[in-house]
């Protein structure tokens, strides 16, 4: 009898720990929502979402978040231009061409890239890639979107490669063999059979990569500058949403001020963007799993 009570208590305690993860999500949403609501009482949501000037730290305050969103989109786009083709080609090589021995060695090494702290990538972007690029691009400023974008692309490449490779390897052998039997080469099989068959898995990987790029902080905080501006030029200093949060956090911001609330409002926008992308990615992956279950 006593042991049955103990068992019951233990199960409830374990359940509580599991539910803590739901509380974490709820906590994130509540904290962000409370401060964002406080922010929106003083600034109209229209000005926040569609304003083209972001100067909350100046005397003449404007709260248009578009320059920060533009900075984030710009750097993330550059990162995806690097990570997507290279990651996909790496995945095709590993999945369709590489001998098993090569795969076993290369994959963990490639994943080392994903394990390097982002502050190290930031240093690399600022101290190595930017000076290197400046030799070829004369107009490139010391802080810019191009260099952190490229380095961020290198950082998320393993994610794209690894998840895409998983998706390609899940494609049944029979489809490949059918293609070979019709006389197709490996390239034709890879591009016309395997990649289309693994398409939703590859798309899920790419969307997750975009989400990672949008939320990436230290590379842009170090190498992209801190000047929110609405521009599509990758050559001048900009500021992303994440870099702005870091910039304000470095100063000692008193609780309850409008300045303090801006980082939660920006954080809320960031959370909603990444959360949506993550949901789409999860949904696509589930669908892919069903296709070849």
């Amino acid at each position: 009898m006593r042991s049955r009570t103990t068992e019951w208590v233990i199960e409830r305690a374990l359940l509580l720990c599991a539910i803590l993860s739901v509380f974490t999500t709820a906590g994130i949403i509540i904290v962000l929502a409370i401060e964002t609501a406080g922010f929106l009482r003083e600034v109209s949501i229209f000005e926040f979402l569609f304003g083209t000037e972001w100067t909350p730290l100046f005397a003449n305050k404007h709260f248009g978040v578009l320059p920060l969103v533009m900075g984030t989109v710009l750097v993330s786009s550059i990162a995806m231009v690097v990570a997507l083709p290279m990651g996909l080609l790496s995945a095709i090589y590993l999945s369709e061409y590489a001998p098993a021995g090569v795969r076993r060695i290369v994959k963990p090494v490639l994943e080392l890239l994903a394990g390097i702290p982002t502050v190290v990538y930031g240093y690399f972007a600022l101290m190595f890639v930017t000076p290197l690029l400046q030799r070829f691009i004369p107009g490139l400023a010391g802080f810019n979107a191009l260099s952190p974008g490229i380095v961020m692309g290198i950082m998320i490449l393993p994610l794209v490669a690894s998840l895409s490779e998983d998706a390609m390897r899940a494609v049944p052998r029979g489809l490949r063999e059918g293609s070979y039997a019709l006389g197709a080469t490996r390239m034709q099989t890879s591009l016309s059979v395997v990649v289309p068959a693994a398409f939703s898995g590859i798309t899920a990987a790419s969307i997750l990569a975009v989400s990672r790029a949008i939320g990436e902080t230290m590379i842009v905080a170090i190498a992209a500058g801190q000047q929110p501006r609405l521009t599509a030029s990758p050559l001048v200093p900009i500021e992303t949403m994440t870099a702005y949060i870091v910039q304000v956090s470095l100063g000692d911001t008193p609780q309850g001020t409008l300045e303090y609330r801006t980082i939660f409002a920006v954080g809320m926008l960031l959370f909603l963007m990444t959360f949506t992308l993550n949901l789409i990615s999860t949904w696509l992956r589930e669908r892919f799993r069903e296709e070849y279950a």
Binding site: A18, M86, V120, F128, M218, S249
Partner: protein, 297 residues
């Protein structure tokens, strides 16, 4: 591809061309892979060549200083080790308990465990800086932990939890069913079976996952900056309520200064950070190898 031809030379030529194109594509794909690996090599060499000259024993044992030449990383290294140890102490019991529930109890595919599972996989993809905002709002302000080691470790523990839970579940899944059944046959309760049979066997796998998630957490900068871990703390933390700084924040602080001497310090700090990661990963691989041998034996 295409229809069968009666002309025996034409497909031959076509086949040859297709194989040349195929070979070219293979080289292109291999090139993309090598380029990524080359980037890793260049990064490591660049950091080593920038920072190796600055790295010596004094750098390891000196405290922070406003003068680059006499600044060291002892306080930041101690802060990192302290924060990560506490993060592990918080994340391990909670993460393992959650994983046990989902793997051993929640097997009924109930709506609740399904919700928890989806939630965990979503949390794993939330940007780390968002955890920083949660830590700032919840631990630093609401729970008045201030900018302490405890607030930092709690924030990082929440960040590490999804990975700890996922890897623990994988470790639990490798324990053969027959071991559980044998234990039940001897009259053990469910919890006795888990505590005395399943957990000891899964432990190396669980610890491997824990170390890997902590090696991710030790490089985290953004969430700790957001909760307001001060960048200039010229002392090592002496308790869970102490103010602190960590290696990545110290590196960020040095990188942000224009003087070349501080940049050199940053590179040396990065070498120390990467060394620490190397040690942690080696420990994880060592544990995993032992685990695999055990599984075979």
């Amino acid at each position: 591809m295409g229809a069968v031809s009666t002309d025996f030379r034409a497909p031959d030529l076509g086949t040859r061309r297709r194989h040349v194109v195929d070979r070219g594509f293979e080289l292109l794909a291999l090139g993309a892979l090598l380029l990524a690996l080359a980037a890793l090599a260049v990064l490591v060499v660049d950091v080593l060549s920038d920072g190796a000259g600055r790295l010596n024993w004094q750098f390891m044992t000196d405290m922070a200083s406003r003068r680059a030449s006499s600044a060291g990383i002892y306080h930041a290294l101690a802060g990192s080790v302290f924060v990560i140890a506490l993060t592990g102490a918080l994340a391990l019991p909670i993460g393992v308990a959650a994983a046990i529930y989902l793997e051993e109890y929640g097997s009924a595919r109930s709506k609740l465990s399904r919700l928890i599972e989806i939630n965990i996989s979503n949390l794993a993809a939330v940007p780390s800086i968002i955890y920083g905002l949660l830590g700032l709002g919840l631990f630093v302000r609401t729970l008045s932990m201030d900018r302490s080691v405890l607030a930092g470790a709690s924030t990082l523990a929440l960040l590490a939890l999804p990975v700890v839970i996922l890897s623990t579940r994988e470790a639990l899944r490798t324990v053969p069913k027959s071991i559980r059944e044998g234990s039940y046959a001897l009259g053990a309760t469910k919890w006795q079976t888990i505590w005395f049979q399943v957990l000891p066997i899964a432990m190396p796998g669980i610890l491997t996952g824990l170390i890997l998630s902590l090696s991710r957490a030790i490089g985290e900068t953004a969430p700790l900056i957001t909760i307001g871990a001060l960048t200039y703390v010229p002392f090592a933390p002496d308790g869970i309520w102490s103010a602190f700084t960590v290696l990545p924040i110290q590196i960020f602080n040095w990188v942000s200064r224009p003087q070349a001497e501080f940049q050199e310090n940053a590179a040396a700090g990065i070498i120390v950070l990467l060394g620490l990661l190397l040690i942690m990963n080696a420990a994880a691989i060592f544990l995993r190898d032992r685990f695999q041998q055990q599984g075979r034996g």
